[in-house]
Amino acid sequence: MANVPQPGTSASRPSSATIRELLVYARPYTRLFAGVVALVIVYNLTQVIQPYLVKVAIDRYLLIPHGRLEPLIAIGATYLGITLVGLLANLWQTRVIASAGQQVVRQLRIDLFSHIESLSMSFFESHDTGRLITNVASDTTRISQFFTQFLLSVIRDGLTIVLVMGAMFLLNWKLALLSALVIPIIVVISAIFRPRLHKIYNTTRSRQSRLIGFIAENLTGMRIIQVFHQEDKQLEAFNHLNIPFQMANVNEFRWDVFFNRSFDLLGNLAVAFMAWAGGMAVFHHTIKIGVLYAFISYIQQFFEPINSLTQNWNTLQSSMISAERISAVLATPPAIKDPPRPITPPAITGRIDFDHVSFAYERSRPILDDITCHILPGQFIGICGETGAGKSTLISLLARFYDVTSGTISIDHIDIRDVRQADLHRWVAVVQQEVNLYSGSVADNIRLFRSDVSDAQVVHAARLTGAHAFISQLPQGYNTPLTPHGSNLSAGQRQLLAFARTIVLNPSILVLDEATANLDAMSEIAVQQGLIEVAKNRTTIVIAHRLSTIRAADCIYVLDKGRIVESGTHDQLVAHHGAYAEMLQKSQLTANAEGF
């Protein structure tokens, strides 16, 4: 159910193309990056120098009889100074690289979000919203880890290993070679453990999310459990998820301890080994005792960077998968593009012409077939028909969510493909059955967060549609916060809000797409009264759910299987005894059935 990010194991090798795409975003920071590398080098050098200083202290000043204190103080001061420089360098480079990484990911997020918003409706119908949210939120985070963690680790840890090796070789190349034996062992242990740990970790997470999902659902449905007194049964089901999760938790911890202690053991054994090998060298007078000390310190410095590098190999892989997903979205062009030279009429009257319009998602199955109709400015048009007759598709074409397969749709005799979509959408407003609310105040929801809509305009629109009455009843009036699920508003109130929202845009053409279908009879009456005000001076198209809604229309079109089968006023159509009359009769029959 949840989009569990795929672990690195199943990933393809990171392709160089994807890496290049990512690096494009990093290009503005090239210079900064060079600075970071310099700082990393400084930091690493200080780390390597520290054991060397102690070695100098031991060999030069402590091993000789009657040594003096002054040089020791100098070494102590140098040590402190070097530590300070190293820390500052590290602090600085971490902040710089984090800032660059965060800026890159911020830009990437904005680009990605703007791109998604610019895509056409067909894209959203074929793509899961949850996936897209994952793209924007988690995939971009993972990419930022590429910059802040992976690159940093490669530079810092890689450099540490090189410098430590270098220092060892300078001191004694034979011992250095022996010490280097540790590296492949560490890599092998990591390579054995990492995928296993990763798999175990994923098992735990997926069991956890199943358990949490179960608890969330059962808390929501607790009254059902209680009313049917199935508490024992659900507790049993809970145990079936809880116990495996508990076991997975213990198992994860077991491997975690196992892995860390193995590293620990290896580190201590390396010290023992170095004591033996170095001790022999001191015995044969190949090296001094101070060098032995330095080697014992250095060999422990291998572990952390190698561990971190293997860990970051996983980061790289998951960043690459995320990058590929994001590139796929970014590479999708909008199906509907604005014309290169758009026509921009100053104002429109609201005349609409459908000329031989046909539409099909797939060639073989036409949704609309040769629709022709002419709608005059200010007319009230009703459209009815069975589910699947093509009513909503007709509106989607008018709003240019899709382009017609053949024929033309024009507004004021201008083909809608010749105007900018932004203009078209200003002219044509669609009110849908489902009202989406934003988390924000009532006023924000009416003005849709546009800064160019004044409070007065918001109130005016609410008054016109009849929403003002209930809004002023709310605890904080227009400032009352709403939530997307809007449980604090009834379906009727939400719909009135949607009307107000539409009126603020002051469209010339208003389309109601089964806008009142969800309302009970009493709420619908309130909404319909709002509608009468709103429809004044506008071309209004109403897709009807209840036939009573469109009784007063100037013209009613009856759609069937993608074609207009009848048109005329209510009275004409009733007199015609065709499809409309039949629908009308059917609906009244059921209402009056059984002595009702």
């Binding site: 102690v54 202290a57 402590l62 009657h66 204190l69 020791l72 102590g76 402190l80 820390l87 602090l91 984090a98 965060q102 911020r106 904005i110 979000f113 610019s118 959203f124 919203t129 924007v136 939120a137 608890i215 808390l219 607790m222 059902i224 209680q226 009313v227 049917f228 199935q230 508490e231 145990n239 809880n242 508990q246 213990v250 911890f253 301890v257 620990d264 053991l265 201590n268 054994l269 080994f273 004591a275 033996w276 022999m280 005792i289 589910t387 007759a389 959408h425 044509v428 849908q432 989406n436 988390s439 849709l448 967060f449 546009r450 009970d520 009807a544 759910h545 009244q588 059921t590 009702f596």
Partner: protein, 580 residues
């Protein structure tokens, strides 16, 4: 209660804990031998050493390392394992407890709030029991053992003076640790605000597009990403400061040790080996000192969680079982005697002085506006809400004197929201039964007129209902909920709380047909609805307004009365529906 749970758990696993403590203690004693051996080893060189001696030192180091790692690993794992077992037990206890609490509790607490106990508080307690105990053990043993070694084998004043800067480490951890945790929570929150805004925008993409609002949305999104950036950078600054302060303090310590220890070596107060060993001991002290700080943070964090869990476990159901439950009589009418009910935390009653007798085997229809008290009445009847004493009787027995399980067993209830579990349709229908019986499921589905629909689905009754029933239409969902109630064929009372609102007229007729057959078998039916067509079977109809009965009678009587019912009838028969 929470603390008692922890204590009881310690008691139950006492042996394991003692073993773990012993193992960690011994392991730390072994661990502090390592620098000592290295020190002696280095001193041995000045006194003269044989290759055999070198072998022995290296062997000692290896053996001690192995012993230390095994013992420490065992101790650490045991403590961590026990904590995870406790965590699982605690989750179970919470779930079990929630199942006992009643509707009012779930009205007061959102699912999100309750989940956060499972998601945050339970793991916080686990962390105290695992990380907290483990780190305390390690820190205490290692700190004491190290100090013992340095004071006893090396030098007291060197130890004391070098230790001074290190003692600031726990202070830094306690000061900065909670700030970092707080800030990373802020970062998480701003990230989820960004994701939430994205979700909102994409879910209303049709609106965004038709209002040409893409630009505004991008602006809003940019604000969210900016706040993610600012918060993340603040976290980075805190983190880097923290990460720099610890090595700075240990660096100062080390420099002091270098100079002062060197001086002591020159003046022959300590040997060179002791000096080397001391530098190693010093680096071993950093970790436990950080752990002291961590432990303080962990325990502070978890004590708040423990308190919250305690409060939660102390919540008691308000609707209690009778001390001596009576049997629910097999026959008899449902009688409401002057029933007045006020919701807890509400000022005005939801139902006022309601008196009514529903004869056994009759059908009562209840109609009224949203908020008129229809659902309240049905919820009182299943004792999801608690009626006053003697206000509701079935066959003469106060329902408060009947065991809740008994009462609910006798009632088949279809709630208003039609909640379904995200399991298979068959599983949902069979929910009230102990075993899933395919024949029973089919029969119930048939009665609820969902059988044909289910059979057209590729996986039939095994089709999994999407989260919150999203793959089913509203009407289908209601029908599954009806089937779930009707599978209780033995139930004597059937309640439909506005459960036919989303089904079309034809389906409604079919379901009413099935209900009529149940009625003929002597079942009592209570149906509430906005839609009068759902009430056409009713023997009597009650019109509720603001918790009071305003009209009552047979449908014909009410029609003649020209009241609310007649008015609603007029609206609904005119504005009839197409239901394409």
């Amino acid at each position: 209660m929470g603390q008692r749970l922890v204590r009881r758990f310690f008691h139950k696993h006492g042996t394991e804990y003692i073993l773990a403590i012993l193992a960690v203690g011994v392991s730390k004693i072994l661990q502090v031998q390592i620098p000592d051996i290295i020190g002696h080893f280095i001193d041995q060189f000045r006194r003269g050493i044989t290759p055999h001696g070198i072998d022995r030192y290296a062997q000692d180091l290896a053996v001690i390392s192995i012993g230390y790692v095994i013992l420490f690993g065992f101790g650490q794992f045991t403590v961590g394992k026990l904590a995870r077992i406790f965590e699982g037990d605690l989750r179970r206890l919470l779930f079990d407890h929630w199942e006992d609490l009643d509707a009012d509790y779930f009205n007061q607490h959102t699912t999100g709030d309750l989940l956060s106990h499972v998601l945050n508080d339970v793991p916080a307690i686990r962390q105290a029991l695992a990380g907290g105990i483990n780190q305390t053990l390690q820190a205490v043993f290692l700190f004491v053992a190290t100090l013992f070694m340095t004071i006893r084998h090396i030098n007291l004043s060197l130890t004391v003076i070098s230790l001074i800067p290190l003692l600031l480490i726990p202070v830094v951890v306690v000061k900065l640790g909670p700030k970092i945790r707080q800030q990373s929570r802020v970062v998480q929150e701003s990230l989820s605000a960004m994701a939430g805004m994205t979700e909102e925008s994409l879910q209303s993409i049709r609106l965004v597009k038709s209002a040409g609002n893409e630009g505004v949305e991008v602006r809003r999104f940019t604000e969210r990403t900016d706040s993610v950036y600012d918060n993340s950078m603040h976290l980075v600054r805190l983190n880097t400061t923290f990460q720099a302060l610890i090595p700075l303090l240990s660096g100062i310590s080390f420099a002091i040790a270098l100079v002062y220890g060197g001086a002591l070596t020159l003046s022959h107060h300590i040997t060179l080996g002791a000096f080397v060993a001391f530098t190693v001991y010093l680096s071993m002290l950093v970790r436990p000192l950080m752990q002291f700080g961590n432990v303080i943070n962990i325990f502070q964090n978890s004590s708040a969680s423990l308190l919250r869990i305690q409060v939660l476990l102390e919540a008691q159901p308000q609707i209690t079982e009778p001390a001596e439950p009576q049997h629910l009589p097999v026959h008899g009418p449902i009688v409401f005697h002057d029933l007045t009910f006020t919701y807890p935390h509400a000022k005005t009653p939801a139902l006022r002085h309601l008196s009514l007798t529903v004869p056994e085997g009759s059908i009562l229809g209840i109609v009224g506006r949203t908020g008129s008290g229809k659902s309240t009445l049905t919820r009182l009847l299943v004792r999801e809400l608690d009626p006053p004493e003697k206000a509701i009787t079935i066959g003469g027995t106060d329902i408060r004197n009947v065991a809740k399980a008994d009462l609910r067993e006798a009632i088949a209830y279809v709630p208003q929201d039609g909640f379904l579990f995200s399991s298979s349709i068959g599983h949902n229908i069979a929910f009230p039964t102990p075993q899933e019986d395919p024949a029973q499921i089919r029969q119930a589905a048939q009665a609820a007129n969902i059988l044909a629909t289910v059979q057209t689905m590729p996986e039939g009754f095994d089709t999994v209902v999407g989260e919150h029933g999203l793959t089913l239409s509203g009407g289908q969902r209601q029908r599954v909920a009806i089937a779930r109630a009707l599978i209780k064929t033995h139930a004597r009372i059937i309640i439909l709380d506005d459960s036919l609102s989303a089904v079309d007229s034809l389906t409604e007729q079919t379901i009413l047909g099935a209900l009529r057959r149940l009625h003929q078998k002597g079942r009592t039916l209570i149906i509430t609805s906005h839609r009068l067509s759902s009430l056409r079977l009713a023997d009597h109809i009650m019109v509720l307004e603001e918790g009071q009965i305003v009209e009552f009678g047979t449908p014909q009587e009410l029609l003649q009365r020209q009241g609310f019912y007649a008015q609603l009838y007029a609206i609904q028969s005119q504005g009839s529906e197409t239901h394409g």
